[in-house]
Amino acid sequence: MPDLTYRDALKSTLVEEMDRDPRVLLMGEDIGVYGGTFLVTEGLLARYGPKRVIDTPISEAGFIGCGIGMAMLGLRPVIEVMTWNFSLIAADQIIQNAAKIRYFSGGQAGVPMVIRGPNGAGVQLSAQHSQALEALYGYFPGLYVAAPATPADARGLLRTAIRASDPVIFLENASLYGLRGEVPDGDYVVPFGRAAVARHGRDVTLVTHGRTLHMTLAAAAHLAADGVECDVIDLRTLRPLDMATVVESVRRTHRAVVIEDQGGLYGVAGEVMAGIYERAFDDLDAPVVRVSGEDVPMPYARTLELLAQPNEAKIVEAVRRTVA
């Protein structure tokens, strides 16, 4: 099993899928000549040529709408947004068209399209470029929402996304591109709707997804030194949401803390908490606690940006309250 960065896991998976299936093509701003803002598509223009690696104008509504048409007619576009914040310009195409074509057409047409790019904060890109949009896109039926936190899941989930018959919101994170990890070879696939148990423990269930997995694991290691063993669940996909794994864990630990990058009001953590209360109420020995970002536009100043985000200490504190 090779040791790859998250970035290389994505790139190698794109290459393998493009080699496997001639319908797969890439499209986005600066992905060809420049190699992608985060270099995920570096070298692919040379390898596949301008018909399969398409540099677009700065026009998200245009090229995402174009991707929808391509997908409806049989291609499998993988579209990069420079950050997920820019998808808001194309929100109408994604939400009103991509998510609803299958429904409106009575199943006659689908949109097998992946939109991928960095989501959320962590690299000092200020309020307009740091938003975490999983709760927004998780809201709409007709979309899949995946958020890999590790190089292995970046590969396995991207492969599932490219092979899916419906539009996939694929949420990467700028702070994860350099993360290294073992990535299974071959036709490695991670199915949607199946959370991963990233660490096993009996005392409290920690539920998270995306980049906050790593600070959650660090918190769990810290707590283990004090004798508190955490079950850490990485949701991996937010739509579908694997509540079964969460509930199974909570039934063992009787306590839960839910961690998300931003959110808070109307966030993913709130949804997970609701699911726990609905399905495991009688198993709870303490109120479920959430750790979310602060309820502010993301500050640019590094010190403030760090304060506005979850971190290991906040998670440790929340867990201690829960196991008190």
Binding site: D203, D226, G227, V228, H254, F281, D282, D283, L284, D285, A286, R320, R321, V323, A324
Partner: protein, 425 residues
């Protein structure tokens, strides 16, 4: 769970007198219930078959909760007495097989339902207006219900005193609950013992705290010479023999207080709003009676109007009944003023906390031969100290003194106690 007094928020099922499957006639005793004050038997309000016992023996249930179901033959299942519908338990295993049977031919119970149906204790927390709620995690509630543990008897060690899983486990294991896992081990050999208050004592604690914190008390003490009162009791016993057997000095004091209250109605009162005092036209005296785990206050109705020997008989019934816990709920309600007598415990004098919302309470000390000055000479006389505690919002020191002076006058001229007319007649 029927509401047997205004203050009752929950009751405990002490024992079931019928079993599931028994035929029940209207008026049959179903169960014995313990409240803060009294044990009572509850009767079936309709006939049928006892199809389900929802609240097991030894378990608390809030007022209004369903504690059992009676399946009227072919009719609608009957609720337990006085059950308002709002405490319908959640659908699930607790709704036993007979509970929903609306026809005479009830389906055979499925094994899982039959196993789960009986003795699921209601959570002692649900009723509207309940002042204190047992804080327990859902898991702790479930475990307690499964094991028939009464949560009100569990001490919570979670945040804010919440009962959590470890408290139930500790109780089930017969050990005091351990603190949260990461905490340091406690030193061996505890320096104190935590003793849980009885339910009655908990109720007393709430009520005296409420009274003492909200009623501005003041206290007035006076000494009464009891020589003539003692003589009167001796004479009555001689004259009436066994018929006066129950007569005690306390009865004379009660009678004197009752007559004095009729003469001074400003103390036979309660403050109903910041602007209004309600003066009662009848005198119902609460008699403080010590019982093994606390204190109860049966009520002597129309104490001012009862002939002395009748009063003595009724007081004896109330006091003995209270000690044996066999009084009816009616015997505890409606007092307008109270008397507490610690004379038999060799107490010289004391002051009592008003039994709110009443406006006063008379504290009676022992009768003691003491040197007093009479006609310039020191003589020995049986003396007794009376202390009245008064709600200062209702009257002031002069009013309290006037009441005490009247009690004193009556006890020192006890012939006045033999009539039922107003003492100043």
């Amino acid at each position: 769970m029927p509401k047997m007094s205004d203050a009752m928020t929950e009751g405990k099922v002490l024992s079931w007198r019928k079993r599931v499957g028994d035929r029940v006639a209207r008026g049959d005793v179903l169960a014995e219930i313990e409240t803060d004050k009294v044990n009572v038997e509850i009767e079936a309000e309709s006939a049928g078959t006892l199809s389900e016992i929802v609240v097991g023996e030894g378990t608390l249930a809030p007022v209004g909760a369903v504690i059992a179901r009676i399946n009227g033959g072919g009719g609608r299942p009957a609720e337990s007495p006085s059950s308002p519908p709002r405490h319908e338990p959640a659908p699930g295993p607790s709704a036993g097989p007979g509970a929903r049977a609306s026809t005479a031919a009830a389906p055979a119970p499925r094994a899982d339902q039959a196993a789960a149906a009986p003795e699921r204790p209601a959570q002692p927390t649900a009723g509207a207006g309940v002042t204190e709620r047992v804080k327990a995690s859902p898991l702790a509630r479930r475990l307690a219900a499964e094991r028939g543990i009464d949560l009100s008897r569990v001490t919570g060690t979670g945040p804010g005193g919440r009962i959590v899983e470890r408290d139930i486990e500790a109780l089930a294991a017969g050990a005091p609950a351990a603190p949260a896992r990461p905490a340091a081990a406690a030193p061996a050999g505890a320096e104190y013992e935590d003793v849980e208050l009885s339910r009655m004592r908990q109720a007393i604690a709430r009520s005296v705290a409420q009274s003492h914190q909200t009623i501005p008390h003041f206290y007035v003490t006076s000494e009464v010479e009891m020589r003539r009162a003692l003589d009167l009791r001796t004479q009555l016993k001689e004259a009436y023999g066994d018929a006066a057997g129950a007569l005690s000095i306390n009865d004379l004091i009660v009678k004197a207080a009752a007559l004095a209250l009729r003469a001074r109605p400003d103390l036979n009162a309660t403050l109903v709003s910041p602007e209004t005092v309600r003066r009662f036209r009848r005198v119902h005296l609460g008699i403080m009676v010590a019982v093994p785990d606390g204190l109860v206050v049966p009520v002597l109705r129309d104490a001012d109007r009862l002939p002395l020997l009748t009063l003595a008989t009724e007081a004896r019934r109330l006091i003995d009944g209270a000690r044996e816990r066999r009084l009816r709920q009616d015997d505890f309600s409606g007092a307008t003023f109270s008397i507490s007598n610690l004379g038999m415990y060799d107490v010289t004098m004391f002051s009592a906390i008003i039994n709110g919302p009443q406006a006063g309470i008379l504290a009676v000390g022992r009768i003691q031969e003491r040197p007093v000055v009479r006609d310039g000479a020191i003589v020995a006389r049986p003396m007794m100290a009376l202390t009245v505690s008064v709600d200062h919002r209702v009257t002031d020191g002069v009013g309290a003194a006037a009441f005490l002076a009247e009690v004193k006058r009556l006890l020192e001229h006890p012939v006045l106690l033999l009539g039922t007319s107003a003492a100043n007649a």
